[in-house]
């Protein structure tokens, strides 16, 4: 591959759109060509700065209350609006009108809003905890997933940096008994997880990280007769510890992992 080829492929290389073989050839050329390395680094620097400038621009930031207002408009009407049959399609104007009426009702109930939000957030966490428990059992224990797990590095490229960061997360040694077994990214019931499997006090234990609003502190989740589940903050992501252990041990492990995990994923 010549320098001219590198210039032609530079855009696709930066966008990670090259075929694996071509990518390897290009990387081989970069190893021996300082000019092309500098060129690619410059292009990458501009792209990274554009990305950062966009994320930092104050005048592009939504109003702080915008998301809350959106939720208030979307939530009450969602059962009315999800109608898959095209024949029953409702005009957007009439849908929006009915939404505004419903949203007005929500506004009237705003006094109880904080309680409702807390309660919604708790029920959401409990639901996600049940799914995390399902992933632990079907992935870590039974190897029974529909979709094959992928490497965390690949998940990082496709779905966000925290997955890749999880590949290098080293949990602190707890009570002298934490043996690492497996790391990957898997999907259970439509939800993607970064999944670290290790043995803790003799029990198969899962650390699962997924997209979602994290709790403020580690908390035990309802787990019926299944393994114990604790939710924990994982940076700005949601984490779970799932294990066939007594509930206090699982909560304690979640408490120990919270800080190093959050720092690592930040």
């Amino acid at each position: 591959m010549q320098c001219r080829d590198i210039r032609e492929l530079a855009d696709s290389f930066l966008s990670e759109q090259l075929l694996v073989e071509t990518n390897h050839e290009l990387l081989r050329h970069l190893e021996t060509c300082p000019d092309c390395r500098v060129d690619i680094a410059g292009r990458r620097a501009i792209r990274d700065q554009l990305r950062a400038a966009f994320a930092r621009a104050d005048d592009l930031r939504p109003r702080p209350e915008f998301t809350v207002e959106l939720l208030a408009r979307l939530r009450p009407s969602q059962s009315a609006i999800v109608i898959p049959e095209p024949a029953m399609e409702i005009s957007r104007r009439s849908v929006l009108q009915s939404w505004w009426a419903l949203a007005a009702g929500v506004a009237l109930a705003a006094g109880g809003g904080l309680f409702v939000r807390h309660s919604n957030s708790r029920s959401r966490l409990a639901l996600l905890a049940r799914e995390a428990s399902g992933d632990h059992q079907n992935c870590a224990v039974k190897f029974n997933l529909r979709e094959r797990p992928i490497q965390l590095e690949e998940a990082g490229r496709r779905f966000g940096a925290p997955y890749a960061a999880l590949a290098t997360f080293e949990p602190p040694v707890v009570d002298g008994s934490l043996d690492m077994l497996e790391r990957h990214s898997c999907v259970y019931q439509g939800r993607r997880y970064g999944h670290v499997v290790f043995r803790y006090r003799g029990a198969l234990t899962s650390l699962l990280v997924t997209d979602g609003t994290p709790p403020a502190t580690p908390e035990l989740e309802p787990s019926d007769a299944g393994p114990a589940v604790a939710s924990l903050p994982a940076g700005r992501f949601l984490g779970f510890i799932v294990a066939d252990l007594d509930r206090p041990s699982v909560l304690r492990l979640a408490q120990i992992l919270t800080e190093p995990l959050s720092q690592h994923l930040a």
Partner: protein, 185 residues
């Protein structure tokens, strides 16, 4: 009771998958619309449509790309209705003629320089750069969102990045080049 449970699950899935992307979605809309009220309306309509068709979303795929694609369609439909469609099919060819060389890549660029430079290049090129470099969408996803062939995405991205560098250099954002090697053509 089942209906309520299904409805709750559907909502929770939507809230968990889609709502974390509102900030990024708004930034994108705001850049395109240049008007806060219009951007909010765009995002709202995007989420209305996303919620309506959430059963078509494939879990585990890139939800943000899916939402951005809906937003692009919503915006394009509005522009068509308002007769504001920019017909500029020859833009890539014309741009080829006005980019005589790849300028040195500036060394020090402020956020303001970067965004002003982006603003100066043609909207079609801005759009592709944003979708690729900021939103991290694949060529295929961008092609679907903009309803153009993948080849057009690639050529717009290539020209757009060159124009962006030209604009940065023109703004005097630091002639000291990190990429002097780019003189090789």
């Amino acid at each position: 009771m089942n209906a309520d449970t299904d409805s709750d699950r559907r909502w929770l899935a939507f809230e968990t998958e889609a709502m974390p992307h509102v900030d990024r979605l708004f930034r994108h809309a705001m850049w395109l619309a240049r008007n806060r009220a219009e951007a909010e309306d765009l995002v709202q309509e995007t989420l209305v449509q996303a919620l309506q068709s959430f059963h078509r979303f494939t879990p585990g795929t890139n939800c943000r790309a899916w939402l951005v694609a809906i937003l692009q369609h919503v915006r394009a439909n509005r522009q068509r209705k308002q007769g504001r469609t920019v017909i500029d099919s020859n833009v890539d060819e014309r741009v080829t003629n006005v980019v005589p060389f790849v300028p040195p890549i500036p060394d020090h660029v402020t956020d303001e320089d970067m965004l002003l430079a982006l603003q100066q290049i043609p909207p079609h090129h801005q759009e592709v750069i944003l979708l690729c470099d900021v939103e991290d969408m694949t060529y295929k996803e961008i092609a679907a969102a903009l309803e153009v062939p993948i080849g057009t995405v690639m050529s717009r991205l290539h020209r757009g990045r060159e124009l962006l560098r030209t604009e940065l250099a023109r703004r005097g954002a630091g002639p000291a080049a990190m990429g002097q090697g780019s003189g090789t053509r």
